[in-house]
Symmetry: C2
Subunit: 243 residues, 2 copies
């Protein structure tokens, strides 16, 4: 019999967890300096390399940063929205690419979340954000644009839509959903006609936002979702039964 897996974690993992707990519980406040590696070795009764492995684990999560030199050391990071945002994007991207999430599932999630932002965006969008969106629409209408560039512009457009809600927590949460879709979107080849259709829907969205008409934004997003899923469906069909 194997009595419980006995998951004795590595020392470095244990130490990382102990420090992480201290940070999460507020025992170690932002910008506080941790003891030096030598002191931590003493405290935890392990060697310095082991302590260092623990610290690198925390650094990988943006929980601490390190500085060399006198009065240097490891400091508790005041997690910025940017840091959290980029972590969110890489995690989401990997999750979508490695877990074989269907395009429909990802797409459904993305548009459900985006529609959640729409009413707030319609209410609060700034002139600046409207300008960004119109600029991206213009870019999307340029002939000779690669599919990748079209997708990248699409991401920028939708990020502006999300940012319009003027809620950093929403922007952060949505970052993953929107950007992680990009690799999936890149599998679609956009014909001139489909680009035109998307640009038309984007224009409807901006116009509705400018008019602060939340219902119209929602309706346009619903149409855009359907159209996007239809495009993906066509790609799948064509693959199954090529010309």
């Amino acid at each position: 019999m194997k009595t419980a897996p006995r998951k004795t974690a590595d020392l470095s993992a244990q130490i990382a967890q102990a420090i992480r707990d201290a940070i999460v519980s507020g025992e170690l406040i932002g910008d506080a300096r941790l003891p030096s590696e030598a002191e931590l070795s003493d405290q935890f009764q392990v060697s310095r390399p082991t302590v260092r492995e623990a610290l690198k684990r925390l650094a990988a999560q943006s929980l601490i940063r390190t500085q060399r030199g006198a009065s240097g050391g490891a400091f508790v990071n005041r997690l910025s929205f940017e840091d959290a945002y980029s972590q969110q994007v890489t995690t989401s991207t990997l999750l979508l690419s490695m877990n074989a999430v269907s395009f429909d599932t990802a797409c459904e999630a993305r548009y459900a979340l985006e529609r959640a932002c729409a009413p707030l965006s319609a209410q609060r969008r700034t002139a600046d954000q409207l300008a960004t969106m119109r600029a991206e629409i213009f870019r999307q209408s340029q002939p000779g644009l690669t599919d990748e560039a079209f997708c990248a512009s699409d991401v920028t457009f939708h990020r502006a839509l999300v940012d319009g809600a003027e809620n950093p927590v929403l922007s952060y949460q949505l970052a993953g959903a929107v950007e992680a879709m990009q690799p999936l979107m890149n599998m679609i080849t956009f014909t001139a006609r489909s680009r035109e259709a998307i640009i038309g829907l984007h224009t409807r969205i901006v116009d509705a936002l400018e008019a602060q008409n939340a219902d119209a934004v929602d309706a346009a997003l619903v149409d855009l979702e359907h159209y996007t899923r239809q495009l993906a469906q066509d790609v799948a069909d064509r693959k199954r039964k090529p010309a």
Copy 2:
């Protein structure tokens, strides 16, 4: 003049990034075995401790796992929803606690996202999820429940609501928004009367879900958001001008 900050990253960070890129780009596929630490030392021309620090960084992001023993080594992790989920929760929790996000901002984001799930949940919720929600409502009605236990039950209730959408990507994205709010919610003291009101709203939500009435779910969520924000407002007022 300082020409560009010259952020020469640590060797371990560079190596971690190189391997990360290989994973993200699909060059290293899931469950693939990385070269041994000794081989990596050779390839990157650094010492083994440096390689190990790099590997620990990747392990902290659940990108790899390591196994000791003969045919052991570092393997590319097939990122599971659970892993991504827990990372999402810790990042979100830290972000909310360290960035002094206002209760209103967090609450607005949370309910906006939850309402995004509501229509899908109303359509797809299983009997199992409804039962979970009703069980939590019953637990919430028990007298003598601590505020913390009440909050925890609240989280379980809302997670069931989100899971009802039967979209793992949505569940993953929402995990952070819902669970990260818990520390903020814990600052609220729930009177018998406010608990009763919340339980009433929860019941409205479950009933509407059971009836597959999306609009009614949405309306109940709107009411719940307003009520929650009112409670937080009361706490803030009471603190400013105590009895």
